[in-house]
Amino acid sequence: MVHAVSSILTGEEGSSIYLLHVKYTNLVRVNLVLLKALLEDKKRRGLMITIDRPHQYLSHLMQLHGVDQTNLVFVDAISLHSADTKGGEVAPEFQMGPFHIEALPDFLMKHEDGGSSFQIDMSKIDFVIIDNVSTLLTYNSMASVKRFFQRYVDVLKSVKSRGIQTALVMDRDQHTELYEFISNLSRKSIELGQDMLIKGVRVMGAQVPLPSMAVPDASASVGSGNDSPPILERK
């Protein structure tokens, strides 16, 4: 599945959103597969926005399953509200609240923090993953979440130097309205079955059935990081 997913996500030029439908009980597993595919299989550099749980859980999972985190920046949008004592070896670059999510795209482009100023150099980002989209609706209205995605697409268009692939995993059956909305903004909608096999890929409204592909162990080692320049720059 790592190779199958990475080939589907990275075979295009320009910025795109890829929407993956998966049952909600498999969201974490699919996010881990995505990170392994993009960070290791494709040697990409990415931004992970955590909303559903503090970033250290995903970081711990990646560490245990041998996924290199060197080229991943965490933006943690829930730790400040989680009262969680779990430690982690990788610190998030940004911490923020999960509310008013429509401001996030501009926040990512330029963030002022007291006397310090941070800016994520989006031209060095290859992919963005949000863990997870459905949870946005816990803290924001549907209208606000839709505005977030519209603004996010504008931000993607403004980054002309290279394409940014955004992978969004959600359960279509839980949030049909939001799924359809994002689907219209997406290059591909990918459906994963309960057995974690790819059931189909919809490209610009066209249904492209795929033969089922077996899921390899997500912990299987693929490779490690590279010597790419840092994503985050301190001004």
């Binding site: 974490v28 881990l32 749980r53 999972l61 004592t85």
Partner: protein, 228 residues
Amino acid sequence: MANAAFPRIESGIPGLDEMIEGGFPFPSVILVAGSAGSGKTTFAQKFLFAGADKGEQGLFFSTLSEPAQWMLRYAAQFDFVKPEYYGKEVIYCDLGNLLRKCTSEELLAYIDQKVAEVMPQRIVIDPITVVSSMMKDDYRVFAFDLTTRLKNWQATTMLTGEVHPGELYPAELSYAVDGVILLMLSDEGDARRKYIEVLKMRGTNHLTGKQSVDITRKDGVIVLKARF
């Protein structure tokens, strides 16, 4: 629309899901409390095997009540227990030796590590109450940290709790968990009947009051609503 934001997983207990709007919230931590013989471990086993039937990964932590070796021998009597799931869809992990010597932080770290390794959608800790008597640290803080972490691992966890005669549920845990289910034995004339009651289920408009239950070889614990 509000319910759409609240995913649930089926409990695997026939008749229970109808009492709790379709299943346990996912993720959540549910306490199943009862005295000896009330069916707690059977309830928890069925929860895991029902998940395994749906392709969901299960992880069973046993503490200091019944070693997995013996628990599995008795569990083998139930039709729903499928030995082919052992070590795959349903993984057993004995915390007994660790509990004899560890601190609460070490115990949390071990559970964290095992959960990250297995990535279960369903977890059982059976029984959790024995931990309170072994913890030198603040048990309430431990219970808070444990339940917070278990939910952040994106699983629904069932904690079983032993109660003493005259006690309904372990009070310290009841505040930290999202749901409390009581399994009760009641003397009624010459018979000792079994009941279930959903005392608490966050985010759920659950049925209140005691419902009669039975334990069968085929299904384990079942709620006998039809008799009311």
